[in-house]
């Protein structure tokens, strides 16, 4: 959940809006409270849809229909306005994670819970169908888990007919003669159950169009669906709606062999880790209307470093203890809901300004710092990391069981070393910041490592790969193998992917240290008994690659390894094409930039890139993240988003554990704990050696293949798996 934005309404109907829950395609969903104080999820339709007469009609019909159905486990409409200028609908607030979040966080569920969820959802759908209606958008994001079972949401008030790619039926995809109806819900439910049972999407991932095509023409991927579920899920996924079971059949089938209809209520129907999340979320305190007023007035406090008084007496660490008595009084006033605007202003001025926004409750507040390049040469990576951290922070806060409030403080170094030192100081000066994720680029790596090291601030690094030489006071936690180690993936590509026997190796001094590290690692790893290696070192500033291209082509080289940057890579690609080179080229993420595609054009084909970041869309191991990401930011996942999400989860897990211990959360205890911690990420598994180097069992890197338009994920490069 995020704070309201300045432009957000504060009241709608009889509801007071408190937080943003989600930005959907058709509207924004808010956490709201009714006049009586009951929590609700209130969806406000986006203006462009509200102006669309067709959409309005569908929305109105949806809401009206939904009001006619009530079923156990169905989240219906509480109130709505389908006629006014602002179209909205309020639903009971369900305090529980969605199935999408649950699978993303915990992986697939065992078959028992899958059956239970299936049985209960089938029962709901049977009731809906009984009323002559259909849901038409059943998907993991529309199922939430509470302690006694699943809740189906999204019924009434979506205004959509198309469903969601990956969970659409063939008839929704336009591939059948029958219009979408109850059978569509059964098909979608089959997809949901397959996803929950395997952690994968039954029709894979990809663009909406690719998914549509597969839904219509290809069988679902049910490879590791437990056998006892396989038959029933297969039946749901019949291309022809007539061949699918009805929801009532399905309910009978699943409830029969599995837990009975009341099953959900019995304790222990979910795996314990999932149950813990569900319970915590269910019992979490929701924001009350009062205290948020002050935040509304000051939604984006200036960076702490600019507050002159703060640096003079920074509290050594934030105190996760109960708040001061004065603050308690003020919060109590706020909680009474009696504060008017003037009162809120007073509150804001009286509260100590340190550490950003006022704490919502009597809890400690900690922040994760993000030290990123958001405007320089690696801004794409920096922004990806920002998304991942943002997603994790929002998700962790919404779980509500942290024991502290968590926020994100971001700084932008623009890839510049001097600025990096400056912005590092501002994060270090912020007493709420317990750890920093970053920096983004290698150009600032050493500067950042020294600054944070001297301050004892844990520095969780995702993209920068070269911190040598390391110092004793370093506080690094490398979330990826360092550049030289990662370059060890290139010989794997040469041997396994390309079967290269004549390799041309180009160290381009324009890329100085990066190129040096990569080419030396390759030179060391290549077996010269079987591979003929021809190295070339190019002076810094080389722009004409014709000579080396002609030389390699004439020598019959079948693979070129390039250690340089995107600009050189693009020029090299052109020169190789000009020379008639027929082989492949392998380069690193530093060469994978817009300049490469601009300069290379068609010559980009045949290039491979080895990167430290995965692609959750293409990488089946990380696909859970893509689902969550799509819900929050859309379908395009930026590099390092999943890695930043994992890093934040790992950091906060450690903070949460420390918060329960007498030593508490300090930078020192956090660093010590993290160095010993392991985290099974959605991307890479994370663990560190004594010096904070990457020691997880994740892959050395990830392989992408280019064509003129971009790159496609191929696979993780894992020597152990070869």
């Amino acid at each position: 959940m995020r704070d309201l934005e300045l432009s957000d309404p504060r009241r709608i109907g009889g509801y007071r809006l408190l937080r943003r829950i989600a930005d959907g395609r058709t509207g924004v969903v808010y956490l709201a409270r009714s006049l009586g104080g009951a929590p609700a999820a209130l969806k406000v339709i986006r203006r462009e849809h509200a102006r669309d007469p067709e959409f309005r009609a569908r929305f109105e019909r949806d809401v009206a229909a939904a009001r006619h159905v009530s079923a156990r486990c169905l989240v219906g409409v509480l109130a709505a306005d389908t006629a006014g200028g602002t179209m909205w609908a309020a639903f009971p607030y369900v305090p529980g994670p969605t199935l999408a979040e649950t699978v993303a966080a915990h992986g697939p569920l065992p078959r028992g819970p899958v059956r239970t969820i299936g049985a209960m959802l089938a029962e709901v759908l049977a009731a809906v169908h009984q009323a002559g209606l259909a849901h038409l958008d059943v998907r993991p994001g529309h199922v939430q888990l509470v302690p006694d079972g699943p809740r189906l949401t999204g019924f009434g008030g979506t205004g959509t007919v198309g469903g969601t790619p990956g969970y659409q039926s063939p008839e929704q995809a336009g591939g059948g003669a029958v219009p979408p109806g109850p059978g569509t819900d059964v098909f979608s439910l089959g997809c949901v159950l397959a996803h929950v049972a395997t952690g994968r999407h039954p029709f894979g991932t990809g663009t909406g169009r690719e998914l549509l095509h597969r839904v219509v023409h290809e069988p679902a991927d049910l490879a590791d669906v437990p056998r006892s579920l396989l038959e029933v899920i297969e039946a749901c996924l019949a291309k022809d709606p007539v061949l699918r079971p009805t929801a009532a059949d399905l309910h009978a089938e699943l409830a029969d062999a599995g837990d009975t209809a009341g099953a959900g209520r019995a304790a222990g129907w979910l795996p314990s880790a999932v149950a813990a999340d569900v319970n915590q979320r269910f019992h979490a305190r929701l924001p009350a209307p009062g205290p948020e007023l002050s935040e509304w007035l000051d939604p984006e406090p200036p960076p702490p470093a600019r507050r002159p008084r703060q640096t003079q007496q920074p509290p050594p660490e934030p105190v996760p203890a109960p708040m001061s008595s004065r603050r308690r009084v003020l919060t109590a006033l706020g909680g009474a809901g009696a504060l008017l605007l003037g009162g809120a202003l007073t509150t804001r001025l009286l509260l100590p300004r340190s550490g950003g926004a006022a704490p919502a409750e009597g809890r400690g507040q900690y922040a994760v710092g993000l030290h990123a390049d958001l405007s320089g040469p690696h801004a794409k990576y920096g922004k990806g990391q920002r998304r991942g951290v943002t997603m994790a922070v929002e998700e962790l806060n919404s779980l509500g069981d942290l024991g502290f409030s968590l926020s994100l403080r971001e700084v932008d170094d623009g890839g510049d070393a001097e600025r990096a030192a400056e912005v590092a100081r501002s994060l270090i000066a912020d007493p709420a910041v317990m750890a920093v994720i970053g920096p983004t680029g290698d150009a600032v790596a050493r500067v950042a490592a020294e600054a944070y090291g001297a301050a004892g601030m844990p520095l969780f690094v995702l993209s920068a790969g070269n911190f040598a030489p390391r110092a004793a006071e370093d506080t690094l936690l490398l979330g990826r193998p360092d550049t030289a180690t990662a370059a060890g993936a290139i010989p794997l590509v040469l041997a396994q992917e390309l079967g290269a026997s004549r390799v041309g190796l180009i160290d381009d001094r324009t890329a100085d240290e990066h190129s040096w590290l990569v080419t030396r690692a390759v030179s060391d790893a290549v077996d010269r008994a079987t591979v003929e290696l021809t190295p070339r070192v190019l002076p810094a500033g080389t722009r004409d690659f014709a000579e080396v291209a002609e030389e390699f082509t004439a020598a019959g080289v079948d693979a070129v390894v390039y250690g340089g940057l995107a600009d050189g890579a693009g020029r090299l690609a052109g020169a190789l094409a000009e020379a008639g080179y027929q082989g492949s080229v392998v380069a690193t993420q530093e060469a994978l930039g817009a300049a490469f595609f601009e300069l290379a054009g068609e010559a980009a084909a045949g290039w491979y890139f080895v990167t430290p970041y995965t692609d959750p869309i293409g990488d089946p191991d990380a696909s859970g993240f893509a689902t969550v990401h799509r819900g929050r930011f859309g379908g395009t996942v930026e590099p390092y988003a999943v890695e930043a999400y994992d890093a934040t989860r790992m950091l906060v897990d450690a903070m949460r554990a420390l918060a329960r211990e007498p030593s508490g959360v300090t930078k020192g205890t956090l660093l010590t704990r993290l160095r010993d911690a392991e985290y099974h990420g959605l991307g890479r598994d994370l663990a560190f050696d004594a010096g904070g180097g990457y020691a997880g069992e994740g892959p050395l890197g990830y392989l992408y293949k280019a064509d003129a338009n971009g790159v496609r994920f191929r696979r993780a490069l894992d020597p152990a798996a070869e």
């Binding site: 040598a468 190796l505 030179s523 021809t534 070192v537 002076p539 810094a540």
Partner: protein, 265 residues
């Protein structure tokens, strides 16, 4: 890798830089800063980086214009026994034939060839510190100065030098003298604390000579100022560890750089 870490640590902290480097070079005499023959020179053929544009180095005001002036400069810069410390004496021969320089051939063996057109002059000097025990080899130091026709040529030569390390991690200096495990790293001006020259390369490996107790450290460094490269190579022997050899290299290289800088003004 341990050696390189030390090199990098040194490069990072010291402003005068040059710690040790190392390497190769001495092939019957040896230039270290050379590189293969002219045929391989302009590997990438291309514009040099800004700081390498001809004569543009802030410290280089007056590059030598002809072979005679270039050889005078080389003679004034190259380090000899007196520059290296007490007890150093000239080897025999003491200087290389000035119309030749050392080239690493296809088989990774150093040999001397005639100077290519783009090199105005190249001079190497050989010094040694006799060992107290007659069974040991003396501590041998080779210094070398090469004057190129342009900064671009010298810059390409630096790249070619790095390329040799990649091409030949094992090299034969002369019969019975080998280097193995060669590693090299370059540091352009302003990068990793390197402020002593326009560009600098350090190499290190293990020297397998004829004396007992080997292999010993073998370090080499080459630095470029405008069109001029200065190099120093030290072959270790019993009684000298990597640090001793590195200190000798550093001091010698530093001395030659400061001489070159004043010659070029």
């Amino acid at each position: 890798m341990r050696y390189l870490r030390q090199v990098r640590a040194a490069l990072a902290v010291s402003t005068v830089v040059l710690l040790f480097g190392c390497t190769t070079a001495d092939a019957g005499d040896g230039p270290a800063d050379d590189g293969g023959g002219g045929d391989r020179s302009a590997t990438g053929g291309s514009a040099p980086p800004a700081e390498a544009s001809d004569g543009a180095s802030p410290r280089v005001v007056a590059p030598p214009a002809d072979p005679a002036a270039a050889l005078d400069l080389a003679g004034a810069v190259a380090a000899g026994p007196a520059d290296l410390g007490d007890g150093f004496v000239p080897q025999d021969p003491f200087e290389s034939e000035p119309t030749t320089w050392a080239v690493l051939d296809e088989g990774c063996v150093w040999r001397r060839e005639a100077l290519p057109d783009e090199v105005l002059a190249s001079l190497s000097r050989y010094s040694e510190h006799p060992a107290p025990d007659a069974r040991d080899e003396p501590l041998r130091v080779m210094s070398s100065v090469t004057v190129h026709r342009s900064t671009t040529v010298a810059d390409e030569r630096m790249a070619a030098t790095l390329e040799e390390g990649l091409r030949c991690p094992e090299q034969t200096l002369r019969e019975g003298e080998r280097i193995t495990g060669l590693r090299s790293e370059g540091a352009p001006y302003g990068v990793r604390g390197q402020l002593a020259a326009d560009d600098m390369i350090h190499e290190g490996g293990e020297y397998h000579g004829q004396g007992p107790g080997g292999p010993h450290p073998y370090l080499w460094g080459v630095a470029r100022l405008g069109p001029v490269t200065v190099a120093l190579a030290v072959k270790g022997t019993r009684g000298y560890d990597e640090e001793d050899v590195g200190a000798l290299l550093n001091e010698g290289l530093e001395l030659m750089l400061s001489r070159a800088e004043s010659e070029l003004r």
